[in-house]
Subunit: 131 residues, 2 copies
DNA sequence: TGATTGTTTGATGATTCTATCATTTAAGAA
DNA sequence: TTCTTAAATGATAGAATCATCAAACAATCA
């Protein structure tokens, strides 16, 4: 009784791959977690304190999402003194986010054109904002 | 009242990008939808009938997930006669799945080693199964 | 030791998602 | 028209997830 694994997470071998994969995406399916992973993508490691000030979240709220990310093995953590540092578990996590962004740009762009139905010649650069 | 958009989906411009991105992953976060997208990744287009027989799902169940995929703009559909054909909305969807698989292989492999704690020299090739 | 800062855990109600049933729309054939 | 097949929709109960709060734990310093 000393495993920190509680939920189904996805370290469940023997499960069909598409289920494991769906689980991976489930782990990514929250704005707070995306934000954290983006921050971790930009630096080799980030402390919880820094994540807190960068996101403005309540500590317990952030911690809960960090725990989810840990459970899904998307990040690893390491305590040094009073602070806890988090790192991406694999560089492919960052790549996944990058591909997602590319896809989003394509889809949003297509949708935008769709909405405007070939009316405006140029919609004032793209909708690149925050992050 | 003739828009087919009902849920929050993600064509919501003006939302911060990390939220839109989380939404994208939410759209992917179900085994049935992953399976469908994998099938669509392997062929230029697939009919609902073929998806039904390939997955063994109940028609309305599949249809509901197809509707989610449509709402999230991950697929497009096209009716020809009696049958409805589905296509990936963007090749990056397939790439996203490919990166996810790579990540999964890394993480699962690492986890496995972790579980075996450096005991067995070679765990009989990788856990590549179904799909 | 006790106080302090940093981080995690547990419990709760509210919200969202899933699977299944029954119903409905659409296209084509008889 | 009426029948059959293809697919989508609507409603619903049960499961999962989220945000919030209070409490616990860990490491350092006085």
């Amino acid at each position: 009784m000393e495993q920190e694994n509680q939920g189904p997470a996805f370290a469940d071998f023997r499960a069909p791959l598409y289920e494991v994969k769906a689980n991976l995406f489930k782990g990514l399916a929250h704005p707070v977690r995306i934000r954290v992973l983006e921050l971790l993508s930009a630096a080799p490691e980030v402390s919880v304190s820094d994540l807190l000030s960068a996101t403005g979240l309540e500590a317990s709220h952030l911690s809960q999402h960090l725990s989810v990310l840990r459970r899904y093995r998307l990040v690893t953590s390491d305590r040094r003194g009073l602070q806890q540092f988090y790192t991406l578990a694999d560089p492919l996590v960052a790549e996944l986010l990058a591909v997602a962004r590319g896809l989003l740009e394509n889809v949003l762009h297509a949708t935008k054109e769709d909405l405007e139905t070939a009316t405006v010649p140029r919609p004032s650069s793209t909708t690149r904002d925050t992050l």
